[in-house]
Amino acid sequence: MAKGEPSVATKRPEDKTARARASGDPPAEPEFVQLLTPDGDRVEHPDYAVDFTDEEYRGLYRDLVIVRKLDAEATALQRQGELGIWASLLGQEAAQVGSGRALREQDMAFPTYREHGVLYCRGIDPIMPLGLFRGVDQGGWDPNEFKFNMYTIVIGAQTLHATGYAMGVALDGKVGNGGPDSDSEAVIAYFGDGASAQGDVNEAFVWATVFNAPIVFFCQNNQYAISQPIERQTRVPLYQRAAGFGFPGIRVDGNDVLASYAVTRAALDDARHGQGPSLIEAYTYRMGAHTTSDDPTRYRIASEVDAWQAKDPIKRVRLYLEKQELADDGFFADVDAQAQREAVHLRERVLSMPNPDPAQMFDNVYAHGSPLLDSERAEFAEYVASFEGSAH
């Protein structure tokens, strides 16, 4: 250093996750809100005291099992050529069921393409998004009818939609109206660790905070964006990003359905009461592939998957029910039977989904049609008709 130049000490954050991964050891358990351990023991958290009835414990277990079963059925349907692709939620059931059950009826959800568990908890028929994956439609439904927006494929784009919708909630005067049973509304935006690197997500954070929008950003950190591990997206724990934008961020054990529920319910209620946005990082793991087109053995090691297997979100609830004697074998058999029935029912309806009439592709480009499309539709029909009766 030349004489006279000021000395500047720098300290860069350590990349513990990357080092752990390179050493082959699973990353250390991070700090997060947990209410149910992997061994099925209930633990208390000073900020998230929540009481569930026995029926609610059993209900959450039922949701988790059914959601996993339906997901497995969809994966099987893809393997048999009945779906073009499937984005499995395997491993993320607790984050989705916990947050999904935390929504009040009037709340609005903006999903990615993997939120099948949230969709189920909204009381929506699980057949609804399967047209998208079968390729017979593009996953179209009325978001306002179901309080659940259409799946969004472009990573992170829906976080801005959710923020705008939340601004509309505020414009409608539906924020801060009385107590917990008021008609005040909140919005939840789902996204993942990969999306956290997107400009749209960061813009959504800015907009939500400057307009104090009633929104919860629910990030399922499942550790991978297709093949890229979390340390390729961020050098700080994701929930800490919120501080830089000026709203609270919290990390929850995403494999713990109780904690996922409690943290989400609190954040939603803060939002509906005018406290503004929150970021929840649900720390979880994508047990399967990104989609059925992916091969995760190319980019992650078996020991890592095994370590997460031990933290399975369903097993711990079952252990709890058994230890507390809240459920007997008859209950578990009944849940399995219901899951099986719903899966079979789903399969039957997927197989009977008709292919669309090709002429439908010209519909609904514009609200009231278009002369150009009218003429293309007519030309197409004429062209198709020209083959009728021929040997083709």
């Binding site: 903006f110 439609d137 593009q138 996953g139 179209g140 439904w141 009325d142 978001p143 306002n144 009818e145 927006n149 259409m150 969004t152 472009v154 784009a157 976080t159 801005l160 939609h161 959710a162 923020t163 705008g164 919708y165 939340a166 601004m167 509309g168 909630v169 414009l171 409608d172 400009g199 749209d200 813009e203 959504a204 800015v206 907009w207 400057v210 519909d363 609904n364 480009v365 514009y366 609200a367 009231h368 278009s370 002369p371 150009l372």
Partner: protein, 328 residues
């Protein structure tokens, strides 16, 4: 009552009328509130309609359009201002992948009545990114409608019609004509106005047809005036709607004149003119005395301000093209 207004003021009053008519109409954009927009198109509207309906947004164009999508799903009719043409690209994904496709993928269940206002084109001596003509990108995208106004009377009615539309509309405003004046009847009911998605013959002639939109309409009219002094009668069509195109009046005109020149500021390569020429050729093949010619900006990035007058089509280049149609 007809009054004389600048194009910018006509837009301002049109926005005001739309906001008075429908409380769900909200404006959003950078610097549109207190400042009234860098071109003052929204001047006074925040004062009269309040912060919640005239929103000064963070400086993030994707955020403007992305949040407008959510507001539209909630039942609002957002009118977004993109400050300059060259600043729309950060919002391109939201416009093309979300705004354009949501009605289609929802099988008609979601409507996004969003208007995206973009001051466009050059001729104001600006630095780079402030003089572009990106209309072809949006016209190419199914699900979007694209219009361009050219005079104060159209600016006043077209902005209101766009806001009433159930489809998303990219609304191009000819920024260098913001200060041009014209008669506007602000009492006439909107239902009597000329349809939004219709082109219009604005000067009749017999010898050749000149097509233009936005800022080039004035140039085309000036060319027609100059041509008349030389004894040549040009018919001028203001296209007004770029997607869907309304070429019926154009075909009628070209079948009569047999000659046609398309004028736009955007570069020629794969531009709107190419599509228009293709369709005229298909529909009017046996009426044409010469190929349809284009007069456009060159296929360069928009150049430095001191040479933009050479880049932009002007009266002489239009007349030169008309002359060349006589040389075939």
């Amino acid at each position: 009552m007809a009054e004389t207004l600048t194009l910018g003021k006509a837009l301002n009053i049109g926005l005001r009328r739309a906001m008075e008519r429908d409380p769900k109409v909200i404006l959003m954009g950078e610097d549109i509130g207190k400042l009234g927009g860098v071109f003052r198109i929204t001047d006074g509207l925040q004062k009269d309609f309040g912060d919640p309906r005239v929103i000064d947004t963070p400086l993030a164009e994707s955020g403007i359009i992305g949040t407008a999508v959510g507001l539209a799903i909630r039942g609002y009719r957002p009118v977004c201002e993109i400050q300059f043409d060259g600043f729309v690209y950060p919002a391109f994904d939201q416009i093309v992948s979300q705004v354009a496709k949501m009605h289609y993928r929802s099988q008609g269940k979601v409507r996004l009545p969003i208007v995206i206002r973009i001051p466009f084109g050059g001729g104001i001596g600006a630095v780079e990114h402030h003089s572009e003509s990106p209309e072809a990108y949006f016209s190419h995208t199914a699900g979007l409608k694209v219009v361009a106004c050219a005079n104060p009377a159209d600016a006043y009615t077209m902005i209101q019609q766009a806001i009433e539309s159930d489809d998303p509309i990219v609304f191009f405003e000819p920024k260098r004509r913001y200060w041009e004046k014209g008669e506007v009847d602000t009492d006439a009911p909107l239902s009597d106005a000329y349809p939004l998605h219709a082109s219009r013959v604005i000067r009749e002639g017999q010898d050749a047809t000149v097509l233009a939109y936005g800022p080039m309409v004035r140039t085309a009219l000036d060319a027609a005036t100059a041509a008349a002094e030389d004894g040549r009668s040009l018919e001028v069509v203001d296209l007004r709607t770029l997607s869907p195109l309304d070429l019926g009046p154009v075909f009628d005109s070209v079948r009569r004149t047999g000659r046609c020149v398309v004028v736009h500021e955007a570069p020629s390569n794969v531009g709107l003119g190419a599509e228009i020429v293709a369709r005229i050729t298909q529909e009017c093949f046996y009426s044409l005395e010469a190929p349809v010619l284009r007069v456009t900006g060159f296929n360069t990035p928009y150049p430095a301000a001191r040479v933009e007058e050479e880049f932009l089509p002007d009266l002489d280049r239009v007349l030169d093209a008309v002359d060349r149609t006589y040389g075939w």
